[in-house]
Symmetry: C2
Subunit: 282 residues, 2 copies
């Protein structure tokens, strides 16, 4: 089985993909668009992309491509705590650190640690945490450090000198598994932390109370929303679609009638699937 | 007057800041956190940061810092069309292009153009479009190209060989001006494209229909929402706050009573300001 993921190698998305698909062939992609394209044209069976609060991607690109490729569905969601480590080449003289490399968001997320112990050492932004680790491994003669994950340390043979340097304890990234047909992803070795459905809803026109009317479909049925996000349609400013997560199993007549009621209201709805949420290790 | 902006120099945010504050001293910051910190500690009067669909930042970081720094308010919003150009050093031999550098999202947004005319030429990801342009200008002996904006071409003396190579015509980035006190930003030389209010709302507890109840406050008053986004509180999974934009002027008793009703419902509300939306040039 072939699985595309948002690269480069040793990215947080690969860390997620390797836990979700321990036996598959994992193919790194340059960006989120390439992940969707690989699924679309059948080059891979499925793809893993970040949905929320990621260090590499933004939720908005994933939502936009879900909207633009209506035959792609969500098979599962996975949540992973983000842990940043400070790492160096084994030959590095730590007393004389020259520079610290990482992705801008990883540097920002480790700000307090870097500001207290390593204030004087210049920070250099890199396109990803994994690329920063690779750069450090390729320059053993200089005393460089990288802020990256465990996976990158292993892949590039770096030594971790400080673990868990991120500022916020509760820092999670959400990923989704996407595919063209619903495969009902299941992995008995992973902990299931919930179940939900994903929907994309386009309002018939932009009028006051339109969203409220759509949400009433879920409210009176006591269907709980765990996420809602508006995204511009790019047909001009002010035209939006919504991504909504409804918690629980989607199977009763109650739920199916909700879709009929949305249609009756003139809202254009894409049901992205009912799927499990898995808990990954950092 | 000192204005912080999300750098580096020649970023899209500087392009926005230079139009919003043509006479101010503009100070580039490494990341969105640094922009908020500079305002917070009084190092600058105001800051310009991306709010939505930006090439450099993500909406989520800006929303998170708005939530975390409750004394920071929004003074204005500005919308700018994003235009990418392909540029080289004036001495470049275009026939023998070696590599094309840019930010991953800029490469993705120019995918169809690059894929048709420049498919064989390797693409190299860089931490920003501006840094990519700088790299090209510093290596005149190699035949390199960058995908970046007009500002970067001017700053680094590069020659634009193809204009507007972005795939999506309607590609806008939204920026906000933030400050500690509401200064009611006004610039008569810019076109005003709207007026809105920004609110952060935390629900009392996660229960079905909670959001629907909160939105009813706006719906029966015929107050139109142009944006809604849920963000995790990071106190654990499943706890959210909402960022909402209400269109129009916020002044009548109707609007003020809405805040009282939100409080009565037990929702914790931060009113970020009522402000104008300005239209910028690309």
């Amino acid at each position: 089985m072939k699985i595309a993921y948002l690269g480069p190698q040793a990215s947080f998305t690969q860390l997620a993909a390797s836990q979700l698909f321990p036996k598959a062939e994992l193919l790194p992609q340059n960006n989120i668009l390439d992940c969707f394209s690989a699924v679309e044209c059948g080059e891979v069976d499925q793809a893993v992309v970040p949905l929320e609060n990621s260090i590499e991607g933004t939720v908005s690109m994933t939502l936009d491509y879900l909207y633009k490729t209506p035959d792609i569905r969500i098979e599962a969601e996975a949540v992973m705590p983000i842990a940043h480590h400070l790492m160096v080449h084994p030959d590095c003289n730590i007393e004389n650190l020259e520079k610290i490399y990482s992705h801008p968001q990883a540097l920002a997320q480790s700000f307090h640690f870097l500001d207290s112990g390593f204030k004087e050492i210049p920070k250099q932004e890199y396109s990803s945490t994994a690329a920063a680790a690779k750069h450090v491994s390729e320059n053993p003669d200089r005393n460089l450090a990288a802020v990256a994950n465990q996976f990158a340390a292993d892949l590039y043979g770096l030594k971790i000198i400080r673990r868990n340097i991120q500022d916020i304890e509760q820092n999670h990234t959400r990923f989704i598994i996407i595919s063209k047909r619903q495969n009902l992803y299941l992995n008995n070795e992973l902990e299931v932390s919930g179940e939900k459905s994903g929907l994309l809803i386009t309002l018939p026109e932009d009028h006051p109370g339109g969203l409220h009317q759509v949400l009433s479909v879920f409210a009176w049925r006591k269907m709980n929303l765990s996420k809602i996000e508006s995204r511009t349609l790019k047909t001009g400013l002010g035209n939006y679609f919504f991504f909504i997560n409804v918690t629980g199993t989607w199977k009763s007549a109650l739920h199916h009638n909700a879709l009929a009621e949305l249609a009756a209201l003139g809202a254009d709805t894409v049901f992205l699937g009912n799927y499990k949420e898995f808990l990954l290790k950092s």
